[in-house]
Amino acid sequence: MSGLRSLLVFGVLIVLVWLSSVALLYAIDALIVAVVKESWARTVLGLAVFALWAFSWFMAIIVLSRKLISSWARRASEGPKT
């Protein structure tokens, strides 16, 4: 099972990104497209929400990456346990 650890971690991450992208589309349609008339304002609003979603995911992944790498660096510096 330990051999599948990275598949589990990144597989779950991919599923979460996908689920949130579907939810984002639905939210944009229900809250922006249905309420604001077609205009540049709607475009900017839609793009801003999409950018916020992408930025939030990106920051979360960067934080997760740094934690994984620090944890790995700590384990590597401790050396193999005997």
Binding site: S2, G3, R5, S6, L7, V9, F10, G11, L13, I14, V15, V17, W18, S21, V22, L25, Y26, D29, E38, W40, T43, G46, L47, F58, I61, I62, S65, R66, L68, I69, S71, W72, A73, R75, A76, S77
Partner: protein, 334 residues
């Protein structure tokens, strides 16, 4: 139009790729166009620019598709033009290394055939109507055109950036192309013919690039395959589904670009994200300043792995995202 035309195109490109690839590899060896396979003992020299074989198999199959279904001729011409531009950029880079930024900017040219065809042949090439889950067909009047330069150049570059180990590029792209083909059959069965040349070519090429590789793809292969996936997604309105199939590639690309501070060739990077240790085991770099990549994160989670094991994990992630892409297609109203 019956299904047998689809089978003919698929089989034609697969057989062509399987036959042409060893000949391309032999020709590259004769030209001394080889690169060391750095993750193997003795760093053996392997023929480079296997992308020539993928291109040489895809283009005749596209021509065959156009002859079998002339109603798709305009879309096929666009696809061939996009793939040819990306292939040319990659081939120049394979022989004469281009800078990371130059290469990325040149791939933006792939948008030109799409825009030109949309303007000249609006009844054949319609852009800006992506299909998305739950909502169906969107009508993007402004946003789509703002993001259009990324439609083919984005996939080309992210596929290129994950082309790091034997077999990964053709196998993950094969999974992506298969997911797009299934989606195309759900929405526009005729359009699936556009994907079969790539699907067959990758299936015929993969046995030569899988571990231990007998030919390396080069940028000519990865840029062309990525651009093809992006362009066909735009032509068949499957942009969302293509983005889902490429989540691991996009994730890797974003991490690398941000951690190295822009578009840089791997040769320009001072530190490597992965270190090769004794016994040719790959280990995540523990340096705080080394680039962050998906492979480095996989190794940080699991510890030292062999090249073959890392490649298997990347391919499995490609299969996960391609499965989600098919689920997306099933959730999209028709």
């Amino acid at each position: 139009m019956g299904g047998y035309e689809h089978l003919i195109v698929l089989a034609f490109s697969a057989v062509l790729a399987y036959t042409v690839t060893p000949r391309v590899a032999k020709a590259m060896s004769a030209l001394k166009h080889v690169r060391p396979d750095v993750h193997k003992p003795g760093r053996p020299l392997v023929p480079y620019s296997g992308g020539i074989a993928i291109y040489a198999s895809t283009m005749p199959a596209l021509l065959a598709a156009a002859l079998l279904d002339t109603s798709l001729a305009a879309q096929i011409c666009v696809l061939a033009a996009v793939a040819s531009i990306a292939f040319a950029v990659g081939l120049v880079d394979d022989f004469k290394v281009l800078g990371g930024r130059t290469k990325t900017l040149l791939t933006l040219l792939t948008v030109l055939p799409l825009v030109a065809a949309h303007i000249a042949l609006p009844s054949h090439v319609q852009l800006g109507r992506p299909l998305v889950p739950l909502l169906g067909r969107l009508r993007l009047t402004i946003v789509y055109w703002l993001l259009l330069p990324l439609v083919a150049a984005g996939p080309a570059n992210v596929v290129n950036m994950l082309d790091v180990f034997n077999g990964v590029m053709p196998a993950t792209s094969l999974a992506a192309a298969a997911a797009l083909t299934v989606s195309a059959y759900l929405f526009e069965p005729k359009g699936a013919l556009l994907l079969l040349p790539l699907l067959g070519a990758l299936a015929g090429y993969l046995p030569y690039n899988k571990w231990p590789a007998r030919v390396l793809n080069g940028d000519s292969g990865s840029l062309m395959v990525g651009a093809y996936i992006g362009a066909v997604a735009a032509l068949l309105h499957l942009e969302f589904i293509a983005a889902v199939t490429l989540i691991p590639h996009i994730l890797n690309g974003a991490l690398v670009i941000v951690s190295v501070g822009g578009f840089k060739e791997h040769r320009q990077m001072k530190e490597r994200p992965v270190v090769v240790r004794e016994g040719f085991k790959l280990v995540a770099s523990s340096s705080q300043t080394a680039p962050i990549s998906l492979v480095r994160l996989i190794l940080a989670v699991e510890g030292p792995l062999e090249e073959k094991q890392v490649a298997a994990r990347l391919i499995a992630l490609g299969v996960v995202s391609s499965t989600l892409a098919v689920v997306s297609a099933l959730l999209t109203p028709r």
